[in-house]
Symmetry: C2
Subunit: 508 residues, 2 copies
């Protein structure tokens, strides 16, 4: 039944088991694997590699699109296969090894990895392992539910292993648009000027002689682990919708808005869901990942087209989209993440970007990655690509975490991923800070008054006022700037036993 | 003698005094003025405005390209004319008012200001004041030694005041290339694919009916205040040249390198001077400012073409270039800063960018702006535009400042302008850290061992090792992270009386 999916007959004799294919990967190699936010990842070869490592230890550099499903990062980390990992991950076990210094993790802007590989500044990729729906008559690879960096890996790797996943409907062919920036010098403009435009091929073109193995699989993607909207995320969505309505009334936006981007995860997904109840229409999306919210907006007739590098859906929505792929294919396109996240295209299209902050400070600097300034959560992902080049850069977060023991708004963030220059709007369930055109001292009052949880608000205002006595463009009391964080580290809460934030002056 | 420079006869009756023209500016207005890194600034109207404010107080929002010459920011600040200032400045008096909270300073990526104005998210500009070499038959404005944001201001302002500077040679006409991104939706690609390419007009096209005043001036630009190369900047240049030679040998660069960018100021200028002694040839530049070093490389036959938004030269070099402008015009072009700093063009061309760090931390995060984390120096300028989109992002700094009392390499920077993600190479006089493809723990050892002054090296290593005991992707001892900075603030040095950095454990 799978032979009709390998349309170049000469490749049929490359079919082998996952264990045999994994045998091509040798100690010290750099391996590029498909997979972006759990979608379209390889499902057999990495597991076989981990199995083999139990008796034949080896270590590799693993490059992917973004995070993987099926506990693959966990399994590879536990079997000590990972020496180096880039550019993103979201697995608890791997995270522990990264933070323990056992795995070197290179946290990159997701739009830059392919460029760095192409210029030889990282890599080279020895072997690519790519999940496919089909192989064309010319040996071209039709991806599955993500493109990510797969096209770059396949193009640059010395050898390519294909995982042909029979659970993926053949109708996925035609969903993808594969294009690369041309090599320098005299690189040409990327011709993309509209979200729905196709500028490349529906498959990854490669020399079929480099296809070293084809492994047959039959397994669905891991479902999205985003939580459904709740009261607070609905409030965040409400504040953002109100802002966008004001922008439309002011004539700065049309009711179709600008193309939307939303980061992976619960809050950004919930905010996008909130647009279903908005007066906006004919929306478009130009993002790195499509979540349930995108499909909901399309189904509701609110969104006319969405472009991304992957689609990461809950189990029922995944089923519905794949079973009706011919319907959805006219409204969706999946591109390489170098194109979905490319500064050239993003600045040209002018997006409204919605990304999640781990914490934000009173001046609007955003920490997207490091808990307590030191411990990696997932990675910067595409937040930097999108926020820097946005028409309107929105960051969202709940005002507190851990039942109020952590304030997401702090005097100074312990790590900066997206600086004040790239943060236009901050939204929590309490309200929205519109920071456009404001100096830091003005930004601080907006953030403190509009976004902070009441339990922390007076204390932040007190910090800010005392900082202003010392002067500066961006006033701070350096010796107190991280007091909440060290108190949390030592006591499990940013609050004192009296219920006050831990930087309150002793005399107060 | 100046009437032949106003080639649209109908405009000749708009000539008036600077005082009369300044009278058009009213309290509360937003004024866009030409001027970028001291070049091509308005030389008469701002002074007249300050004079008037002595008896007729008024406050404005002043937007420029970048910094101004002729003490204009000082004069305007002292006369309390400035309520708000963006996107850059470098004046000591204005800086004091900014840090005192008296002037609201909005520190922006220099490539973004025009975009924010165009979309109505800042502004609108009431009056533009633009220095010109000539006015064409159609009323087009021929700029002088900078373009900066002048073209955007002239296009968007309700009224335009022109300062026609007779000291500027008529031969400057033809030096400029004025083009804008097209309004959305369906914005087209910017067609620039080579440094020397012209994509626009040699003048700023505007409706002449909006030209409200023409003021005749006769004054040179303020000379550059960059210092000549010294022993340490020569060492920095040597380390960078050695790296570039290694890159050429590795086949990653050709001997013509990639187009170069260098930030304003002494160190970047000196590093560029150092390329005169390199084996590279047929160099090109795509920068925001041309300094003496660019002219020296052109004169030496090392550089074949340079593109920027302004040229800021020392007095003798300024004289030589203006007196021989027909010769230099075939090797130079000045563009709007939106184009010189545009992410689309920068990522496409693939630059080697050289920018100056105020301080850098052991993980390669760069503070470009805030002394002690709080007090503004000049502004982020174009460093973010260039570093983020670079082929190779280099930051340079001397390892110490204030006779060794400040280490430019610190445990944690007190403000982040350019994050680890955007810093590939760090160079001091002691050596070079090649951070490409490295995880933070690996970056730290490179930075500490290669770039730090010996007086601070052991202490940084000790900080790093103790931080690692606490774990993390980016290990820190939060409560000590700013100890050097607070010690400097309180004692005027980062060193203890024993000559050790101030975070040494007490028992040591």
């Amino acid at each position: 039944m799978y032979r009709d999916r390998i349309r170049l007959a000469a490749l049929q004799d490359r079919i082998m088991s996952a264990d045999e294919a994994a045998g091509l990967i040798r100690d010290g190699m750099t391996v590029g694997m498909s997979g972006f936010t759990r979608a379209g990842d390889c499902k057999a070869v990495p597991v076989a590699l981990a199995r083999r490592a139990a008796t034949d230890p080896l270590q590799i550099t693993l490059i992917t699109g973004a995070s993987l499903g099926h506990d693959t990062d966990k399994i590879l980390a536990e079997s000590n296969v990972l020496a180096r990992r880039l550019p993103f991950q979201s697995d608890a076990t791997l995270r522990r090894k990264i933070n323990g210094g056992e795995v070197m993790f290179i946290d990159q802007h997701l739009g830059e990895t392919a460029e760095l590989l192409r210029s030889g500044q990282i890599g080279p990729v020895d072997i690519a392992v790519i999940e496919a729906t089909a192989i064309t008559e010319t040996g071209g690879i039709v991806p599955t539910t993500s493109v990510g960096n797969s096209a770059s890996f396949a193009k640059m790797a010395k050898q390519v292993i294909i995982e042909l996943n029979l659970n993926m409907p053949s109708g996925l062919e035609g969903l993808h648009d594969i294009a690369f920036p041309v090599q320098r010098p005299y690189r040409q403009p990327i011709p993309l000027i509209a979200v729905e435009q196709r500028i490349g091929l529906p498959y990854i073109p490669i020399d079929p002689s480099r296809i070293a193995a084809i492994v047959i699989t039959q397994r669905d993607d891991s479902p999205s682990n985003a939580l459904p909207p709740d009261a607070e995320t609905n409030q965040i969505a409400g504040h953002l919708n109100a802002l966008l309505e004001r922008e439309v009334r002011a004539g700065r936006l049309s009711p179709t808005l600008q193309p939307l981007q939303a980061g992976i995860g619960t809050i950004a997904n919930a905010v996008l869901h909130g647009l279903a109840d908005s007066p906006f229409h004919d929306l478009t999306m130009y993002s790195e990942v499509l979540q349930d919210s995108t499909i909901a907006l399309i189904d509701a007739g609110k969104m006319r087209f969405a472009s991304a590098a992957s689609m990461t859906l809950s189990a029922p929505v995944y089923r519905r989209v794949l079973d009706n792929i011919e319907h959805y294919k006219s409204k969706l396109v999946l591109r390489p993440q170098e194109i979905s996240n490319h500064p050239e295209v993003l600045r040209r299209l002018g997006l409204i970007t919605i990304n999640t902050a781990l914490e934000c400070d009173i001046y609007g600097n955003v920490n997207s990655t490091h808990v307590g300034g030191t411990h990696m959560m997932n990675g910067i992902g595409g937040s930097g690509d999108f926020a820097r080049n946005a028409y309107l850069s929105v960051f969202v977060t709940k005002s507190v975490a851990k039942d109020g023991k952590i304030s997401s708004i702090v005097p100074m963030v312990t790590h900066v991923d997206n600086s004040e220059h790239d943060v236009d709007i901050l939204v929590t369930e309490h309200g929205l800070a519109d920071l456009r055109g404001l100096a830091p001292r003005e930004r601080a009052l907006q953030v403190i008054n509009n976004c902070t949880d009441p339990a922390y608000r007076d204390s932040l205002l007190d910090y800010y006022r005392r900082a202003c006595l010392r002067g500066g463009q961006t006033p701070h009391v350096l010796e107190e700037a991280f007091a909440w964080h060290t108190h949390y580290r030592d006591h499990g809460t940013m609050l004192t036993p009296a219920g006050k934030p831990a930087n309150e002056p002793l005399a107060a």
